[in-house]
C-alpha cells in the first residue's frame, strides 16, 4: 500500500501540471481536468496496491483521467462540446495503444491561460499555483491572507470563465507574447512575494510559496529558454532566496543587505547568467550578484575572519 501511495504521490507531484495542462487544453475546462485527474489519482491509490504500480504511472493516470472526462461529458455534467469529447475518445485509444509514448508538455499554454487578460488579475497567481502545481485553495488562501472559502470561490469563478468564455489554450503570437509573458512572470513574482515578507516563526506555509514560485520560474525558463525576461526573474528570485538565512540575525531581527554575513548566503543560488540584452527582470536582480562579487573579493582578502562566522 505504502509503495503504491508513494508512486501515486510521486507521479502526481512530478506530472500534475503536465497532466492538467494536457487534459484542460482538450476539454477547454481546467476545473473538469482537475476533477478528472483527482479521480484518477484516487483510483490509482485503490488499484495499484492490488495489481502493482504500472510501468508508466503518468500514462496510466492520463488514460484514467481521460476516461473520466469522456464519461462526464457523456453524462452532461461537463459542458464540453461534442467535438472535444470525440477528440478525447480518439486520443484515449491512441495513448492506450502506445503506453510509453510521451504526451506533449502543454504547461506553457496553461500558464498563458492563467494570466489571460480576460482573467481577473487578483486570481491569476492563485489560479497558476492551483492548476500547475496542484496546491489546494486553503494553502493558497493562507498565503494571500484571504479566507479559504473566498479563495475557493474565486478559483471556481475564474475556471468557469475560462470554460464559458472559450479562452483558447494557445501560446500567444509574437506581437502579444512579450506582454503576456510579462503577466506570467508578474504572477510568479507575486507568488514569490507572498513568501518574502515572512518573519522568523511566521506561518511556514507562507514561506513555502517562495519555493513554489522558484519552481515555476525554473519551469518557464525550461519551456522558454531564449527569453531573457524569464531567466532574469529566476535570477532575481534565486538571488533573493540565497540571502534568506542572512536576512535575520539570531534573535530574528532584520539585517540590511549591507550588514549581512555573506558566508550565510547560498553560493549555488547566486551564480547568475549573462544576458544578451538588458531586460526588465534581470535589471532588478543585477545589484545582488554585483554585491556578491564585491563581498567575495573582500572575503579572499581576509580569509581568516570567516571561519568563526560573524
Amino acid at each position: 500500500m505504502s509503495e503504491a501511495r508513494r508512486a501515486a504521490e510521486l507521479a502526481a507531484r512530478a506530472s500534475y501540471g503536465r497532466l492538467v495542462a494536457y487534459l484542460a487544453a482538450r476539454a477547454r475546462d481546467v476545473a473538469a481536468a482537475e476533477d478528472a485527474l483527482g479521480d484518477a489519482l484516487a483510483a490509482a491509490l485503490e488499484t495499484w496496491p492490488r495489481v502493482g504500480v504500472p510501468d508508466n504511472p503518468d500514462a496510466w493516470l492520463l488514460v484514467a483521467a481521460r476516461r473520466r472526462l469522456v464519461d462526464r461529458a457523456r453524462h452532461g455534467s461537463v459542458e464540453a462540446s461534442a467535438a472535444a469529447t470525440l477528440r478525447l475518445a480518439a486520443e484515449t485509444a491512441e495513448v492506450t495503444a502506445s503506453r510509453e509514448s510521451i504526451f506533449p508538455d502543454e504547461r506553457l499554454e496553461l500558464l498563458f491561460v492563467c494570466v489571460h487578460p480576460a482573467i481577473d488579475e487578483a486570481a491569476r497567481t492563485p489560479l497558476m499555483l492551483q492548476a500547475v502545481l496542484g496546491l489546494d485553495a486553503a494553502r493558497i488562501a493562507s498565503a494571500f491572507l484571504v479566507a479559504p472559502a473566498a479563495m475557493s470561490q474565486r478559483l471556481v469563478r475564474v475556471k468557469a470563465k475560462i470554460r464559458d468564455a472559450g479562452i483558447g489554450f494557445e501560446i500567444p503570437g509574437p506581437e502579444a507574447l512579450p506582454e503576456r509573458l510579462h503577466a506570467v512572470l508578474e504572477a510568479i513574482y507575486a507568488a514569490y512575494g507572498t513568501g518574502w515578507e515572512d518573519v522568523a516563526g511566521a506561518d511556514p506555509r507562507r514561506r513555502g510559496l517562495a519555493e513554489e514560485a522558484i519552481w515555476l520560474g525554473r519551469l518557464v525558463v525550461a519551456l522558454l529558454p531564449d527569453e531573457p525576461e524569464a531567466g532574469g526573474l529566476l535570477a532575481l528570485m534565486l538571488c533573493c532566496e540565497a540571502r534568506r538565512s542572512a536576512r535575520r540575525d539570531a534573535s530574528g531581527a532584520y539585517v540590511p543587505l549591507s550588514g549581512q554575513d555573506v558566508a550565510r548566503w547560498s553560493r549555488p543560488m547566486t551564480s547568475a547568467r549573462a544576458w544578451p540584452r538588458p531586460p526588465r527582470w534581470p535589471r532588478r536582480a543585477a545589484p545582488v550578484p554585483a554585491s556578491t562579487r564585491s563581498t567575495r573579493c573582500r572575503r579572499t582578502r581576509w580569509p581568516r575572519t570567516s571561519p568563526t562566522g560573524r
Binding site: S81, H116, A118, D164, A165, G166, I167, G168, E170, P172
Partner: protein, 116 residues
C-alpha cells in the same frame, strides 16, 4: 464558438450618425468592418440600434406592467448595436472586437452566446 460583440457608443458617436460632416466617416467605418467580418466568414448576424433616447424599458411586477421612457441603465455609453460572430476562441473574438470602430471611441463588450 458564437460570441456577441456589444457596441457601446457615446452620445457624441450617436450624433455622428446624422451629422452632415461626420456621417460618411461613421457609416463608412461600420460598412468596412461588416465587410471584413463577412469576408473572413465569421459573421453570423447583427444590427445597429437607434439611440437610447428612443428606448422604452418595461418591467412586469406583481402582474402589473411598468413602462418607462429611456434605456435600462443611464450611462455615458449606450448600446448602439451588436454583431454575432463565430470564431474558435475568445482571443479571436477579442481581435475582431478591437477592430470594431466603437472600440476606439466608446467600448465594446464581448460575450459568449449560450449554446442552445
Amino acid at each position: 464558438m458564437i460570441y456577441t460583440i456589444l457596441i457601446y457608443e457615446t452620445q457624441d458617436e450617436f450624433g455622428a450618425r446624422t451629422d452632415a460632416k461626420r456621417k460618411d466617416a461613421y457609416w463608412g467605418a461600420y460598412h468596412a468592418y461588416t465587410v471584413a467580418l463577412r469576408e473572413a466568414g465569421v459573421m453570423v448576424g447583427g444590427h445597429g440600434l437607434q439611440p437610447a433616447a428612443v428606448a422604452t424599458t418595461v418591467r412586469q411586477r406583481d402582474g402589473k406592467r411598468q413602462v418607462q421612457d429611456g434605456p435600462y441603465a443611464e450611462a455615458k455609453e449606450q448600446l448602439g448595436g451588436y454583431y454575432v460572430i463565430d470564431v474558435p476562441d475568445l482571443d479571436k473574438a477579442l481581435e475582431w472586437a478591437a477592430r470594431c470602430p466603437a472600440a476606439s471611441t466608446g467600448a465594446v463588450e464581448v460575450r459568449p452566446n449560450l449554446s442552445m
